[in-house]
Amino acid sequence: MYGSTVEEIGEITTGEQALAAFEARIARGEKIEPGDWMPDEYRRQLIRMISQHAHSEIVGQLPEGAWITRAPNLRRKLVLLAKVQDEAGHGQYLYHAAETLGATREEMIDALLAGKAKYASVFNYPTLNWADNGAIGYLVDGAAILNQTMLARCSYGPYSRAMVRICAEESFHFQQGKEMVIRYSQGTPLQRRMIQDAINRWWWPSMMMFGPHDGESSNSEILIRWGVKTRTNDQLRSNFVNQIVPELHEMGLTVPDPGLRYDEEKETWVHGPIDWDEFWRVIRGDGPCNRERLEARRKAHADGAWVREALQAYAEKDAN
C-alpha cells in the first residue's frame, strides 16, 4: 500500500559520503536495519556468513540426530530431541535474517544441496557412540557459544537479534553436554575411556570451528571494521582453550595436543599446531561424512516437496 519500508538516513548523495555516514553509524554502535543504506560488500559478507551459519545449524542436527533412537533413557531422549529441534529452529531464525538482505530461501537451499555452500566442517565428523553427544555439547556448542555471544553484538540488527535468541537457548545445550562429560569422567573405567575417546576425536574439529589463523583469514579485517565481528578467530580460539583445558584437567581427562603448554608469563594456555590440511580437505567436501550429510539433506528436501507444492497450490488459489 505504501511501498517499501526503506528507512533513509539523512540526505546522501555520493557513495563516499554514504560510506562515511555508514561507518559513523557503526562507530556510534547503531544497528544497521534491512532498509538502511549499506555497502554492497557488507551485504555480501553478511549473506555469506548468515547463510553458512544457517546451513551449519541445519546440518548440525544430523550427527546427534542419529542417536535419538538409541538414547540410554527417556530423559536423555527428551533432552536430545529438544536440542536437535532447537538447532532446526536456529536455522530458521538465520534463514529469515539472511532473507532480509535479499537472499532467497530457494537459492540458499539450492546452494547447500548442490554442495556449493559451506557449513561448519565439524559436522562432517561421525558420532561413534553415545559419549560423543556429551563431547559435542561441551566442545562444539561451547565453541559455538563463544562465537555467537560475539555475534549477538553484531552491527546488523536482524543477525544480532537472531543471535540473542540463539544464545539463550544454546546455553542449555552446552550445560547438558558438560554435565554428561563430568558424569562420564567420574564413572566406571570403561565410561572414562569412552569419554576420553570422544574428547580426543572432537577436540581438533572443535578448535578448527574458529576458522583459519588471523593472518590467513581474508574476511576478518573488514568484518571487524564494520562491527560484524568484534574478536578475531585466534582470540576466540584462545578463550575456548583457556576455558575448557583447566576444566578437562579437573575432570581427570586429557587434551589430545602434545604441544599444549601453559605460558606462565602471559597466564594463558597455548595450543600446538592445527592440521590445516585436514581443515581445508573437510571444507572442500572430503571429510569423513560430507557425502552422507548432503545425501541426508537432499533426501529431507525431496521428502518435503509435497509440503512446498501444497503451499504453492494454496498461494495460487489465494491469488485467484
Partner: protein, 176 residues
C-alpha cells in the same frame, strides 16, 4: 537478486499480557494466516509470548525523524476522524520498533504526528504506522495452544544441569 518468494510479513510479539508489542523479525508466506503460523513456529518455540501480530511489509508506512522534521505537517494533521492506525516507534538506532498505541487519523503520516508528542516518542529516529485492519492477530482463544507454557520441559533450562556444583565437588574431592 530476484525475490522469488512470497510476501514478507513483519512479526510483532507480546511478551506478556498487557505489554507493548515489539518487532521480532520477518517471515515469508502466501497469506496472513500462514504468516502467523510461520511466525509462531519461528519466533515462539519457547513459550514466553502471549500474542503475535503479523503485517505485510507493503502495509507499513515508515517515516524517519529527518523526514518528519523536514516536511510541514499535513493540513489534516491532528486527531480527526478517519482510520485507526497502530503506531510503532524505534526509540533509538540500537533498538527495535515498539508499539506506542492506537491513533485515529486521516492518514498514516497524520497518525505518526499525533502519536509522537502524545506517546513521548521524543527523539525516536523511525516511526511506523499500520492501518489497524491490515494487522493479522493471533486469537485470544488460541493463546494456550500457540504460546502455552510447557511445565514438563524444564530440561530445556540450563539451571536443570548443576554443572557448577559438580565442578566444585570435583575440586573438593581432589583436595581430600
Amino acid at each position: 537478486m530476484g525475490d522469488t518468494q512470497w510476501s514478507r510479513y513483519y512479526v510483532f510479539e507480546q511478551p506478556e499480557v498487557g505489554a507493548a508489542f515489539i518487532l521480532a523479525g520477518s517471515v515469508h508466506a502466501p497469506d496472513g494466516e500462514m504468516a502467523l503460523l510461520a511466525a509462531r513456529d519461528t519466533f515462539a518455540r519457547r513459550p514466553r509470548r502471549t500474542a503475535m501480530w503479523v503485517v505485510r511489509d507493503a502495509s507499513i508506512f515508515s517515516r524517519t525523524r529527518e523526514q518528519l522534521d523536514a516536511t510541514r505537517p499535513d493540513k489534516d494533521a491532528g486527531a480527526s476522524a478517519g482510520t485507526v492506525f497502530q503506531v510503532f516507534a524505534k526509540r533509538s538506532h540500537k533498538g527495535v520498533h515498539v508499539h506506542m498505541g492506537a491513533v485515529e487519523a486521516a492518514g498514516p503520516e497524520a497518525a505518526i504526528r499525533c502519536a509522537d508528542p502524545e506517546h513521548g516518542g521524543g527523539t525516536a529516529p523511525v516511526w511506523w504506522a499500520i492501518a489497524d485492519g491490515d494487522i493479522i492477530r493471533s486469537e485470544e482463544g488460541d493463546r494456550e495452544v500457540l504460546f502455552g507454557s510447557s511445565p514438563g520441559k524444564s530440561f530445556r533450562h540450563e539451571i536443570e544441569y548443576p554443572v557448577r556444583t559438580m565442578m566444585m565437588d570435583l575440586k573438593r574431592k581432589k583436595k581430600d
